[in-house]
Amino acid sequence: MNPPGTWKEKLAGSIPDELGREIDIFETQMHLRQQGKLDEKIFAESRLRRGVYGQRYDNGQRFDGSQTQQLRFPTGDLTKGPDTLWDAPGMVRIKIPFGGLNTAQMETLADLAEEYSDDILHVTTRQDFQLHFVHIEDTPDLMRRLAAVGITTREACGNSVRNVTACPLSGVCRTEAFDTTPYAHGLAMFLLGHPDTQDFGRKFKIAFSGCKQEACGLVSMHDMGGIAAVRVVDGVEQRGFKLYVGGGLGPVPYQAQLFAEFVPAAELLPTAQAISRVFARLGEKKNRNRARIKFLVASLGIEEFRRLVAEERAILPYDPRWTAYLGDLSGHDETPLKPAQSLNGAALPEGFAEWRRTNVYAQRQAGYAVVTVALPLGDITPSQMRGLADLTRRFIKDTVRTTVDQNVALRWVSEADLPDLYRGLAELGLAAAGAGTVIDITSCPGTDTCKLGIASSRGLAGELRQRLAENQLFRDEAIEKLHIKISGCFNSCGQHHVADIGFYGNSRKVGGLHVPHFQVVLGGQWTENAGSFGLAVGAVPSKRIPQVVTRLADSYLQDRQQGETFQGFIQRIGKKAVKELLEDFTQVPAFTEDPSLYRDWGDTRVFTMGDLGIGECAGEVVPMVHFELAGCEREAFEAQLHHEAGDYRLAYLSAVSAMAHAAKALVKSQFQDVPEDQGVIVSEFRQRFFDPELHFDRFSKSIFAHLIRAHEQPLAAPTRDQAHQHIEEAQLVIEAAYSLYDRISAAVGVPS
């Protein structure tokens, strides 16, 4: 047998030179870091820009249910970035522009999941793939094997242009203006590694939609997004985009603002370049939590932002790549493998009708359909992926698309082939019905693998999926259309703001023990490109969320008016009524009475860092601060009611007041007689906590900055959006106050 050589040798000639060189450089940096010859921060930025992330336990610690245990990695203290131990297996994010994959790429992804990760491929909410538990030493070869099939992980993470997403129906949609695929691909390739995108203070996400009214590419929640539009100039049809900027989810969501009614296709790339330059030049760099372009657009105002971009555009040196790709728009056209044929009375397998009803979309090309393969929690095994590649070759030629619902779409399926395709999918365990319905729940990784996760979003999503699928209530046509989305924390990776029913993880302390909770966020809009955001109505223990969903669905079904959407229903009955509807779920019994509430989904450990002894001793005592913070939550909720009633000034004032009272609760722990005057409260808070960063964690500064800013920059006539933002900020400040008080209590050794 010949010597095995290396993947680098084996794949020589298959990897584009530039990409090959970059991977070699990364490998060298990895070796230098291993020898202590490269600074950990520099290596961290380098690996992040190549899609190599840390995971939850990479700081070498794990809570085992009673105490935090040190994980003793063989290389000891060697790190690959701040607080990220060398041996700790991490995540690799793999960019898939517009979600487009061919069968060779599918098989390579399957191979890599088997050889380097834990045997699972995960589709993300931005059409990427993620592999978890990958060892850093394996990443250069992993990148080479991807590069050999035309995939890069470059700029999948870090402060860069992330994956450019697009509607998975592009090119076959019945309502699109035109196929956005070549434009999404053209822009993605143009901005990849572009010098003007290398100095951002934060990530930059781009999306494309073919039409306005559907969810499509979710343009409204992106840093930049284009909705396909056509206009006629001098009798000639011209393609272009209605261009939006400054949207984003995160802790405080912003709706994107209209940048231009029509940007001709030839101007798309230079406009994006000019926007990148303005963002790189003027965007926040020091405070990560204010560094997304949404904050820049909001602070400058869209008019001034437009002016600056126009100014930048005027001085851009000409680049032939701006339009070169337009000469080959048909290069991305997909064609069918089989002729268009209808079903024509073929024998149908069991379960086919239901699957067809929910998972099959009739293309605008008659006789062809898009089949959505529903992946539970976005996960697929390597064997399933390989089987899917085989089915792709057998029925539709060579390409599929990932979706923002964490599924895979097979396009150009001849309708006559649907039964056989269904049978093939069933053999792979991939024929579950319910794609795009209420049971097709989106979730971020949450506490399973994410360092920031507070509660188990995947655990909850898995549980809900199973329970809802078994409950007839969720088969009702009105309920089936709802979207449920779950984030493990307030950072919104699960896109909870744009769901009918959304959740994000948090925790509350009861009797000295942490209880995993989810904040309930209702009334977001998935359609109209994520047209509006929901608002929080209260936190409920994680284990009671299935009951919450059932009660909400039941109530909607019973009390809705003719043709009323869930969003309309929530608006009509009002947040106060909704809060009352869920009130009984919020009460948490003592640990001894119901310990199950103190454990998260899919985890056998007790959620809290404390132990039962302390919890029992403190069980009868509720600290005064908790009463005060509960009052702040009530105030923030009242702000929502004012917002709902259209009184944006009162909503804004209530939100600002809630923030001030959260600060007051903390100040009172040091200064009992703090007066009611908000100016004094903020001043005291600033002096005692904010400036010295007393017991702050890495999020505290930026979150409490909302309070300081609200006080220093009062708004005389807040708009609807500004009031909404302040309500979101108030919610964050209250959560941060709870956390800060926990840390204060731990530091002084009293139960919190």
Binding site: G429, D448, T449, G459, T604, R605
Partner: protein, 188 residues
Amino acid sequence: MDLHRIQLKFYLNPPAHLSPEEAFRAFSAWIPVTPDQTLVDVADYSHLPDGPLTVLVGHQANYTLDHSDHRLGLVYARKQPLEGGLLQALVEALKACRRLEQEPELDGKVSFAGSEFLLVANDRLRAPNTEATHQALAPQLDAALARLYSGPAALSRDPNPKRRFNLLVRTEASFAVADLLHRFEQAA
């Protein structure tokens, strides 16, 4: 053949069953009390019934309650070099099976068949799914099987080139995991 990325799957004795939740509890309990290895986390994939149901992720090796070939078993997936090679990997896999068999919470309801296991070379570069790989691996494998069974074992391979190199090893006689481990200890 220098190959450390080896996976060994031992199957549960029917009708023994181990649920993903039970495996999750057991694996979680192993993390703080296994000082000779760095065990990191437990991943739950029970929503994929024909896949890796529950994975105990470690630095040196992963342990997986696995149903990917539609048969329930425990996979020991070595990731780092191991002194003793394939033979020692077999010992480690059997020890993990035995540990589950003896897990107090499982109350003796789990037992593994020692007479059959699936070997997968998790390295397509060094060990493609070919007869040449089989030949290269044969000396180590023969020696390990001689120590393990001291009798004939049937080997079968799925030659699908898209699959990793794999061998299903079966003996006619049945063996308990405890007996096989005892045999190793005596020979050591």
